[in-house]
Amino acid sequence: MGPDGSWLAVILAMGLVTYLPRWVPLFMLSRRRLPGWLEEWLHLIPVAILSALVFPEVLTSGSPKALTLVQKQSLAAVPTLIFAFKTRSLGGTVLVGMILFWALEKV
């Protein structure tokens, strides 16, 4: 399908299927009091998702993915994490990570 013809249909379809999983739980769960165990479980979701997103980024490479423990991504990650723990500044962490990664690419 060429992007000229039905690009609008593609965008709307992608928008709809992306929107629904964002909206349904919010709509269903914000109307009722959640049981304590469920809230406790949901509180662990952020840390779990962030780890699941970042670990493969830092520790694997290529496609299909291969385990690469030592690479620019992982070498820059350690001081970036330490900086984040020490300063608790998100903007600073982003900048430090970018600079470290850039410096490693120059080496």
């Binding site: 992007p3 952020p46 520790l59 982003v94 990570g97």
Partner: protein, 241 residues
């Protein structure tokens, strides 16, 4: 008069707080949005179409996949199905934010749901948990991020080919932001254990299968594992007492 002045100051403060919390997201979105704009141009989308997709879909990785499928001649059904699977992880984020948005109006939820992304979710859940955060500040974060994403996509579509690849470590901006957000989420041994479990399972799954379903599967396993661990710890300490 006095009352309305008070109210407008409150709104200005909320919006300012939301934008301040969102600026690292904007910083990280910019290089990725530019990269997306360049790819969309190469795939044959116009500047307007690129901006429209970023505004309507507002989900980075699925847009990269969607655009490359589009240029490979994939069908509408195939693109929609792939996008759905790639973005299913938002189910978990939406569920996790629900406790903070109890008794919120339906129009608010419609608007708020639109802006739930990996990044806005992580920033807002961190802020909600540390207190002093409200739903209007959270909505400001979501919408600021959306504007930054759409703007940078358009910037990439217009002028991205002039920026050399790898410029100033831009490729690492998103990873660095996730690392920072992860560091802020770690509060005590249960969180640390959950993080390690999730990261390990995610790496193993990512090695074993293509795509990005490892994110949702690893998160479910790790949150459940962390929950079981915290219950076990509580039971032991109550027995000991």
């Amino acid at each position: 008069m006095k009352h309305s002045e008070h109210a407008s100051t409150l709104w200005a403060e909320r919006i300012a707080a939301g934008i301040r919390a969102a600026w690292p997201i904007c910083l990280a979105y910019f290089p990725v949005g530019i990269a997306f704009g360049v790819l969309a141009q190469k795939a044959g989308l116009s500047v307007f179409q690129t901006g429209a997709m970023s505004l309507v879909v507002f989900a980075g990785s699925s847009q990269f996949i969607g655009v490359s499928m589009l240029s490979n001649g994939a069908s509408l059904t195939a693109i929609a199905a792939t996008t759905f699977v790639v973005n299913l992880r938002h189910l978990l984020m939406s569920s996790s934010l629900a406790p903070y948005l109890q008794k919120t109006s339906t129009p608010f939820l419609f608007l708020f749901a639109y802006g739930i992304t990996d990044e806005s979710f992580a920033v807002n859940s961190m802020r909600f948990r540390s207190g002093g955060w409200d739903r209007w500040k959270a909505l400001t974060v979501n919408l600021t991020a959306s504007i930054a994403w759409a703007t940078s996509s358009v910037a990439g579509a217009v002028s991205g080919r002039f920026i050399p690849p790898g410029f100033l470590g831009m490729d690492y901006a998103m990873v660095a932001m996730f690392l920072g957000l992860l560091a802020f989420q770690i509060r005590g041994p249960i969180h640390l254990a959950t993080a390690f479990l999730s990261g390990t399972v995610a790496v193993l799954l990512a090695l074993a299968m293509p795509g990005n379903s490892h994110v949702i599967v690893a998160s479910l396993i790790a949150a459940t594992g962390g929950f079981a661990l915290s219950r076990a710890v509580k039971r032991r300490s109550s027995h000991g007492a």
